[in-house]
């Protein structure tokens, strides 16, 4: 099979298949996390990011430029975790390379891949080699060489994949931590999966073997993106419904009688609807039953004229972005934090956080969720506390996507977030708060206790799945068999002076009695320190300890 030109339909196929393969392999990728901690989410994060992209692509018009743009916007808003954000940057550059095109030659395709790499590198303050960036870079380079040799689209993609695989296997040689852990880079592997899936999709091969992610792809969209021979339903109708307690299933049910190519995606507050129908008015009425209508587009497909949904710069936004012109925000500063655990959420709210975003099991909210929270804040200025190093990039991306003034304070743990929060002054301007809050983070040390999800090694020591791990400021420091023992071992390294405050947040699965007993032991061991215990209720981490 030869493919001389890449068209919209091809790109769409590539994406759907790439997403499917990634979805299938995501657990495998999760297990490649350097530290064998239970929230090693690269696979899940990248999969969710791509899934969001696929949703946008499904609703886009059929030409290459539009699909590439939908890919960029969808992944931008859906980006979560550092790997997800970098992936969205790769897609963004790639899409920019294909802008306005109806078809791409192998050379144009390869150049677009290069654009992706450039954009991704630009988006990271300190690019680290031996990660997804290197895999993408060398893959794109091989693609360019193949294009120069006169290969077709398939040949270019195959060359890129071949090189990407070689580079991926080399990543342990580039990054010592990978070698130590005995793994290749998870982000790089995720990218490779997407590319491999894309190739399979392009060749039309093995689609049965690639499972359709049931919760993501809607039932087969006939007519979406293709020029139908005969139009059963004439009007391509799209709109966003906003409200509270929106019932997606109900809306879908009601709309399904009106036409086909129905897609309804969203949350209880925002739903994006796409349908081909002969009665767009009725479709809109159904939306009005539930909430208010926004971004309404009705196209007469018979005129062969489609408005493009997502070929605009990011500020034009994707689904679910609250229209900030609607409500006047109060003058003042709100703080939004990412956290998990009922107890921790309650503490943060009691300390003045306006809204706590539940990052999900992996504590990684998507860029879109962050943007939406910012838009929904009462205030015109917002401070974001990511409380997790894997959320910082998405938080920064969200900051750049909203019209409000936003400051991201780079907190990497709950204790850091709380320390920053204590330094927050609602009367001060963003810059002052930024300085004070960032400085406050330096004053606290964080210890975290969790379990190993797989065998690994660390500092020459063997880790077995199930062992208890102790981390200090995100670095693996202590191994043990019992969470309480590990806490005590961590404290040995963390506590330096007299008069320090030791705060213990115990997670779900730890009984109050066990926590109190541990606190008593800690008090005995450190009589000159103040010891406090709180029920954090966080998953995955038995204990989070703050030393300040």
């Amino acid at each position: 099979m030869q493919l001389q030109f890449l068209e919209g339909q091809h790109l769409r196929q590539m994406l759907l298949a790439g997403a499917a393969l990634l979805q299938e392999r995501k657990e495998e990728i999760n297990s490649l996390n350097v530290f064998p901690v239970p929230d090693g989410d690269t696979g899940t994060n990248m999969s969710l990011t791509v899934t969001a992209a696929v949703r946008e692509v499904e609703m886009a018009a059929g030409d290459l430029g539009s699909i590439a743009g939908a890919l960029a916007n969808g992944s931008l808003m859906g980006a979560r975790g550092n790997s997800g954000v970098i992936l969205s940057q790769l897609f963004r550059g790639f899409a920019a390379g294909l802008e306005g095109k109806v078809e791409a030659s192998p050379m144009e395709f390869a150049l677009a891949l290069q654009e992706g790499v450039k954009t991704a590198y630009r988006g990271v303050m300190k690019p680290v080699e031996g990660t997804i960036l290197t895999v993408a870079k060398e893959g794109a380079r091989a693609a360019l060489q193949a294009a120069r040799r006169g290969e077709d689209i398939l040949g270019v993609l195959e060359s890129a994949i071949g090189q990407a695989e070689i580079t991926l296997n080399r990543t342990p040689e580039i990054l010592p931590v990978l070698k130590e852990a005995g793994v290749v880079d998870a982000g790089g592997k995720g990218l490779l999966c997407i590319m491999q899936g894309a190739l399979l999709g392009l060749k039309g091969e093995d689609l049965a073997a690639l499972s359709q992610p049931a919760e993501v792809l809607r039932p087969v969209q006939e007519g979406v993106g293709e020029e139908p021979a005969a139009l059963t339903y004439q009007y391509c109708t799209e709109f966003i419904i906003k409200g509270h307690g929106l019932d997606i299933e109900k809306i879908r049910l009601r709309l399904s009688d009106l036409g086909d190519s129905l897609i309804a995606v969203g949350t209880g507050e925002v739903i994006k609807v796409h349908i081909h129908t002969n009665h767009p008015g009725q479709a809109l009425e159904i939306g009005l039953e539930q909430g208010t209508l926004h971004d309404v587009k009705i196209d007469n497909m018979a005129e062969q004229h489609r408005e493009v949904l997502a070929a605009n710069p990011p500020e034009a936004a994707g689904p679910g972005i609250a229209d900030s012109d609607e409500v006047q925000a109060e003058v003042g500063t709100g703080v939004i934090a990412v956290a998990l655990g009922e107890g921790i959420t309650a503490i943060l709210e009691s300390l003045g956080v306006e809204r706590v975003i539940d990052g999900g099991q992996t504590m990684n909210p998507s860029t879109e969720e962050l943007v939406r929270s910012i838009e929904n804040s009462r205030y015109n200025k917002v401070i974001l506390l990511p409380n997790n190093k894997n959320v910082i990039l998405a938080a920064q991306q969200a900051r750049d996507l909203t019209k409000k003034e936003v400051l991201v304070v780079p907190s990497k743990s709950i204790p850091q977030g709380i320390a920053a929060l204590l330094a927050f002054d609602p009367e001060a301007d963003l810059e002052t708060n930024g300085q004070e809050m960032t400085a406050a983070i330096e004053e606290v040390k964080t210890g975290e206790v969790t379990y190993a999800v797989r065998d690994s090694s660390f500092n020459g020591q063997k880790i077995q799945a199930g062992d208890i791990l102790g981390l200090i400021d995100g670095e693996l420091s202590v191994l043990g068999q019992e969470p309480e023992e590990v806490v005590l071992k961590l404290l040995e390294q963390l506590v330096e002076d007299d008069g320090e405050i030791l705060t213990i947040y115990y997670g779900e699965g730890v009984s109050s009695a066990a926590a109190q007993e541990l606190a008593a032991r800690v008090s005995d061991a450190y009589p000159q320190c103040e010891v406090e215990v709180y029920e954090g209720g966080q998953p995955l981490y038995y204990y989070i300890v703050a030393v300040e």
Partner: protein, 281 residues
């Protein structure tokens, strides 16, 4: 031209300074249930904190009546004092200033100046002390009034309470209201701005709280050698000793006034309170 300096018992000035400069104090009252005590007259600070610990009921406070002020002013005038300068606790925190104003209006032929200090406790005390010193040095009434009015803009206090409970129950919590309900053991650092209690910072634990007191003061008055500083505590001698040591290290003040928070103020801030006072340049 003899000038008499009058203040109220919330000035929390050490006894020896009161005597040295002949300052006249009108006492507020502390009520434990039905029992009534004149602040500093019928009950001392030490006795107060002991009683506070033992008492099931929270005490309340009340201002001196205009009549009590009239009595004090009259006595002074009969002794031959020509002018009275009456300096008092912030009108936002107590009705004492108002009582004094009423008393003044009842003595229209007397030369009485009533000043709202915007302060309380030894912060007020320092203002009163400086006024009394100026009076002893022979300054005119106008000069002294001017001195007090300018000083009250420059004087700074940062204080740390053990719990906001006392301020809240006594109704003087002001803008520190925002600190209520913090689930962690947060030590609120507070200050006075134009007579109202306002939050200044938050800290985890006493050690960090003390650091904040010093840091905030330094931001307010700088690091240069200080002429005069003051500090007071409520049943917290160890904390006071540590704060004094640190303040001396940082500013080497020529004069330090150490005082205890008296019963009336103590009712509203509670035991454990530490406070630091300085004058900005």
């Amino acid at each position: 031209m003899t000038i008499g300096i009058v203040c109220d018992s919330t000035a929390d000035l050490p006894e020896d300074l009161v005597k040295e400069y002949g300052i006249h104090i009108v006492p507020l009252k502390v009520h434990f249930g039905q029992e009534e005590y004149r602040d500093g007259v019928d009950i001392t600070a030490g006795e107060f904190y002991q009683k506070l610990q033992a008492s099931a009921v929270l005490p309340t406070t009340s201002q001196p009546s205009p009549g009590e002020f009239v009595e004090t002013y009259r006595k002074l005038l009969e002794q031959g004092i020509d002018s009275i300068i009456s300096i008092h606790i912030s009108a936002h925190l107590s009705g004492t200033h108002h009582s004094a104003e009423v008393a003044k209006s009842m003595l229209p032929e007397a030369d009485i100046e009533v000043i709202d200090s915007w302060q309380a406790s030894t912060v007020l005390g320092v203002l009163v002390l400086e006024a009394a010193r100026a009076a002893q040095a022979g300054k005119s009434k106008a000069e002294i009034v001017d001195l007090v009015n300018r000083l009250k803009e420059r004087i700074r206090v940062f204080f740390m309470v053990d719990t906001l409970e006392y301020l809240q129950k006594g109704g003087r919590i002001g803008k520190a209201q925002a600190f209520l309900g913090s689930m962690l053991n947060i030590k609120p650092i507070l200050t006075l701005e134009q007579g109202i209690i306002v939050p200044a910072a938050k800290a985890r634990g006493r050690a960090k709280g003390m650091e904040q007191l010093l840091t905030k003061m330094e931001a307010a008055i700088g690091t240069g050698r200080q002429r005069i500083m003051a500090m007071m505590h409520a049943a917290n001698p160890e904390g006071m000793a540590e704060l004094e040591k640190k303040a001396r290290e940082r500013w080497q003040p020529q004069e330090i006034i150490i005082s205890t928070v008296g019963p009336v103020i103590g009712t509203h801030v509670g035991p454990g309170t530490l406070a630091l006072i300085g004058i900005s340049p």
